[in-house]
Symmetry: D2
Subunit: 344 residues, 4 copies
């Protein structure tokens, strides 16, 4: 098989390491270059002992490759990505820099003027289950946020079918690796263990991309979304509990019987979505690229409830990026991603 | 000081053990009798080594006492409690048997005909911050459910002040000890660790008591509550994230500035409620009887958000029971309960 | 490629599930039959949702296969394995039934008369790094205990080279999944979380196989081993800290400089052993078939210290069983086992 | 009751916070002054919300007090403690600065010249079960290391009775809070969770104080101790597994029957030591000042095995400091320390 020469920009965080793990096992990939400013010159196996099977040295600049994954933080990514595109390298960017279509909205949430707003139009929001066609033709894909992936996938079938009003609440529970490898008191073991807390009550940055993508699903939809993320004492996983008021014309009892079928049909061609028979737990996705979705109806209150869960570093990050890569390069969508979850 | 002779019915579960721990340190209590059918005849210190400072033998029947805490499960409690009352023993019942005022509602949720419905009227719902006066005059107090305590305390000030409509969603995250000491696959370490999941999507039994108590707070209020509990990988703690639509006449921006003051005033005389300056974590209540509450407003979506957290075995169980005992016996409300949380 | 038709006897425990996960991704395997008495008739994906990609129904009896893995508990395994051998099925048995060469020793530790002692001579102790040659010619391989694997691999190079006396202490720390899927108070989340404890102080059943295999490494060696296992609050992983008195002729200081080289040479052809530069943690082996080993010398006390770690369900169980299968069938030793650890 | 005016130097770490928690509930203490350079000027309740019941502001210098606890790190403590003594303030120092009697040994292990070696003679090693008499007459007590407390208490009765040779191995497993509140990758949640590792293989600083105290117990005893600490994924707790070769004249079988009695007699007057009937877990000491000890004999190998466990922040730190304070001030030894463990 013809392999693609691939690079990882900023391999030294958790998302970068997860990309390296997945790409080193991908039969269509030749991992050729990895960068990481602070660790440049070190062997990858020194920096991350569990990756010592990858015989690469961390570089300060990206080498010759045909495809790049950027795991730089937002703000730092945009210009580096633009330069890669100029070198005719296709890119999946895992930061937030190309997710929002509106540069003003970007500035509002990220407090930076977008350095290359001219690329926003071209960039495709990389949620394959929603935008598969555009992704397969893109040069630049903006990989979704970890929370956004679970929330949009949970709500898309209902929004698309006009089952719900704009009254939407998304309550998400995340493992601590979502906060990355940078040290902070919040992620200090003795503080995070035996602790659940809510954060970002003034508004989390994944909210605008959730709203943007839900809006695109159906005409004249202006969702009034409250999104509240929580930190829970586990390493990996996001479970999102989504609540939406049923549209006035909907019969709650009948919808309760039909909702699973509606979701299954919506996701019938999607290899990584499983509509489940019972409420799933994050552990069922550990280390895998699956997103499990369980929709139901609170008949008395007239609300749709959808639970989704995924591994924030795989389907919520590096795995989805590889899925986008597969689409962009014409590989089977699930290539290198078929591993089941590791349980327990 | 005059001490009260106290008994614990069914000491062998986590709530029973927590009652024994707290009562053994309470200066107004003489712990005189503890029961537990399966363990009758054993010393308490054999059954629970951490309680070996309490020199009691587990009995099969309650001895001579003036006050009893029943930690029996629902269904098993009602008749035993009724017999204790006949012996002129005051009772705090920690089961659900006397929480609902309506025997039909009890039957609907618990699938049992209530054995002593004639006591339902007399029983007081034991949430001191709401029903202090009635509790202090009661013979029989029904200790609230662990979830109910956090949810009602989070919403009461807003409901009482008519700030919100009936559109209410309560998303709660609990530690695993809430499921008790009985073995199950759900609480098996290898299954519960590194796992977050939702459960009781068909309706949790704490919902009707939440609705009952919120309804009593203000006239003509028929809350349409969705309550969804989640299991998180920690031993103790419940964090509830409560969402309610603002009443039409309310200005979201102004309310955001005033909401903390409204909550502080509501709880100004309550020794165990802290309205916090920032979103609290469950860890800040570990081992203590405090409930921390953080109210705020999602201005764009027009929703009140309130976070509450507590230790499910203390303020959500045994601690609140002792608080009720203090009120019923005329002791200072915080007697034997002043210990701060243990952190980290 | 020619695939081998394979069965798993008793798929319903953690080791059985891990075998199914690994074998479903093994390019040389056609997984043809899985058994599990209590769950017979169910689809595997119903019983273990994370394995729903395997389209098999759990049976009560093993179907037509060329090779079987038995994940039955000790005592239950021996006769079933004997029957499979009669059907000319090669077997890796993951119980303890064929590990000890001496039927009297088996009876002493397992309190059962061995039902097929005539097979003990033929069975090969399946530690490939020690017995590769015999395994590759065997019909019946006894997969080592999880603790035994880590302990023997940590000590073998030193024992073989006569660096140590018979004074050996092995202190092992295991995750909770090692206790299996059967419910018990010890593995109840609220009891096991935030808890470290020692167990089996009267002697753990993995001790005799550790002694047997160390004895076989060098002549006239009668190790006086104390082995103490501990339970730690994690799901997977075993770390063993091994202490051995240096032989009188050994210079501690010089050995400290040479020990890493001695271990590297011993394991130079072993794809799953990594002699590390710094003390490893169990997390570096999570989900992988690697055993990491770090040897050093306490110069002042004159003791060898060796740390080893592995994933108890992979190299300590199902992964090692597949490694043995590969050797027995003439496949590359690391086939289907190349996945790195998942970190963090 | 007459109360003592007490100060805490450096309240901002975990040990400082634990001192504040315990002292705020101690009936003989008036907590008058707390210091913490970086946080000076803040209310304690801002810095540690769970301590908001203590109405003190963090200061930069110690105020007027009769007694001080220093929770400064080693190196920083010695001179500040010396100044407090000059002001006629009695001190319990929780650093390592006054634990070792030999200034050369201090320099060897801590890489600093001791600034006030003239105080080393006067300082008393604050392990009440061993040095109660000297502590009660001291002006300056050096609180033992967390590991040292558990190890010495586990071995003292056997060493004192000459039951063992100098061949001693101490394998300790600690929760992560022992590493303090300072951020590091080792204590980052995603790295420490689901991970067990050994550290300090080149020698841990608690080793010399363990050796010093064991040596003092009996004549002509030169223990050859290997001490290896491990990090386990829990917040609090240390379990030490101690192994010692039996003295030649000892009959292992007989000792096994007698060992519990020997330990019980040794600790008969010690309110915080419990010699247990079965191997204890760290969870049984959570939040309490107890040290649980279980001695037994490996008859075949001729070794004493002793398991001890404690809460590293209480009996291994702040609780033991308060116990020393009680002795120094003539209070009952267990004053303010009677709380049982919190379980589960």
């Amino acid at each position: 098989m013809q392999t693609v020469s691939v690079g990882i920009i900023n391999v030294t965080g958790y998302i970068g390491a997860e990309l390296a793990r997945l790409l080193s096992q991908h039969p269509g990939v030749h991992l050729a270059s990895i960068t990481g400013r602070s660790a440049a010159g070190q062997k990858l196996g020194q920096f991350f002992p569990f990756l010592s099977h990858i015989p690469l040295v961390i570089e300060s600049e990206l080498g010759e490759v045909d495809f790049a994954f950027s795991a730089l933080p937002h703000g730092a990514a945009a210009e580096i990505v633009a330069k890669a595109l100029e070198r005719e390298i296709k890119v999946v960017d895992l930061s937030a820099d190309f997710r929002l279509k509106d540069a003003t909205e970007y500035q509002r949430w990220y407090k930076i003027t977008h350095p290359v707003p001219e690329l926003l139009d071209e960039a495709v929001y990389g949620l394959p289950e929603i935008n598969r066609q555009e992704i397969s033709q893109a040069r630049l894909v903006a990989n979704p946020g970890c929370y956004s992936t679970g929330a949009i996938l949970a709500l898309a079938p209902a929004v698309k079918a006009n089952l719900v009003t704009s009254n939407i609440i998304i309550d998400s529970k995340s493992g601590v690796s979502g906060a990355g490898r940078t040290l902070s008191l919040t992620t200090h073991f003795a503080e995070a263990n035996e602790n659940v807390s809510a954060y970002a009550l003034e508004g989390h940055r994944h909210l605008p991309e959730i709203v943007q993508e839900l809006q695109n699903l159906t005409q004249d939809f202006n969702p009034k979304v409250t999104f509240l993320p929580h930190l829970t004492p586990m390493t990996r996983g996001i479970l999102s509990s989504c609540y939406a008021e049923l549209a006035p014309r909907i019969n709650p009892k009948r919808l309760k019987e039909e909702i699973k079928g509606i979701y299954q049909e919506f996701y019938q061609d999607d290899p990584f979505i499983q509509v489940t028979d019972s409420p799933p737990g994050t552990k069922q996705t550990w280390g895998s690229n699956f997103c499990l979705i369980y929709p139901t109806v609170d008949v008395e209150a007239g609300r749709l409830i959808v639970i989704s869960c995924l591994d924030n570093l795989v389907k919520g990050g590096a795995g989805q990026a590889v899925q986008n890569f597969n689409l962009m390069m014409g590989f089977p969508e699930d290539m290198g991603l078929k591993m089941p979850a590791i349980y327990p």
